[in-house]
Amino acid sequence: MIYVTVGTQLPFDRLIRAVDEWCAVSGADVFAQVGPSDGNFSALKSESFITPEKADALMKEADLVVAHAGMGTIITATQCGKPLIIMAREFKYGEHRNDHQVATAKRFEDFPNITVVADEAELKQALDAFDTSASSPFAAGTKYAPDEFINNLKLLIADS
């Protein structure tokens, strides 16, 4: 199963539409959380918003995650050891208030489980290249921040 998620704040139909078109051809099992979108998507299953518990279950069940460059998904997919394809929201298309997702995508493209795609064509290529029958080669990540950061925060809290 492929789990697609674009967060709750804004729609990201450019991504959802591309996955939907790919899904119509490939026939893959796709569930998409599409946010406040009024788009019509025919091939994939979709809901605007899901509960945190359902999001958690879908993440655990997914063979592949496709998402906007949101930190919630990047962190959670990495914690769960899931392969993740991300496409950044772009300001020029009205997809976010600024281009911070483009910066985020660039900063996380070195993570072994993450594939960054620039546009819809690259997204479809990455989906074509993915083998959902293989199990994830990525180990689950840590649940908590690195010890150094935790210890630094403890010091700040104790000091103040």
């Binding site: 949101g70 930190m71 919630g72 962190i75 208030r97 911070h100 997702q101 921040a145 809290i157």
Partner: protein
């Protein structure tokens, strides 16, 4: 007289809250109340001490004012000695109110902001005792901004 220490850890749902959850070991040994914008997070993350605030962003002033009022009464009721927030606007509101009521405050700007601080993050300078970014290169661009590490 010293009061018993109490942490209020605040973040909007989504990426902000996921980052806050990765910091939980930093609050070990303190009574901690978590605050977010989606009540479903309490069960998803097994948090038994959880409060809800409405969401807002820094662009919508009327909504932000309402969040500030709600945050004020929340802080007045809970009386935290410390507040940590990973953003966004509701976290800023809690930090501002808690600072006014004497708490020690720490802002940790979201790791999503790699090129510049968010709107709430830039304003947090005025209400946070410790004003942190998760990107060391940004400390050169914002006087007073500290880097202490990142969540991942």
């Amino acid at each position: 007289m010293a009061r018993k220490q109490k942490m209020m850890a605040v973040a909007s749902e989504g990426g902000h809250f996921v980052q806050l959850m990765r910091l939980r070991p930093a609050f070990e040994g303190m009574e901690t109340v978590y605050v977010s914008t989606n009540p479903g997070l309490a069960s998803a993350f097994e948090l038994n001490n959880f409060r809800v605030l409405p969401d807002a962003n820094m662009d919508k002033k009327a909504k932000l004012l309402w969040v500030l009022i709600r945050a004020f009464f929340l802080v007045l009721k809970e009386r935290p000695t410390h507040v940590v927030s990973t953003g966004a606007a509701p976290g800023f509101a809690v930090l501002a109110c808690a600072r006014l009521l004497g708490a020690k405050t720490i802002w940790i700007d979201s790791i999503a902001n790699a090129d510049e601080l968010s709107a709430a993050g830039a304003k947090a300078k005025y209400v946070a005792h410790h004003w942190l970014t998760q990107w060391e290169h940004l400390t050169k661009e914002y006087p007073g901004l500290e880097y202490k590490g990142r969540v991942i």
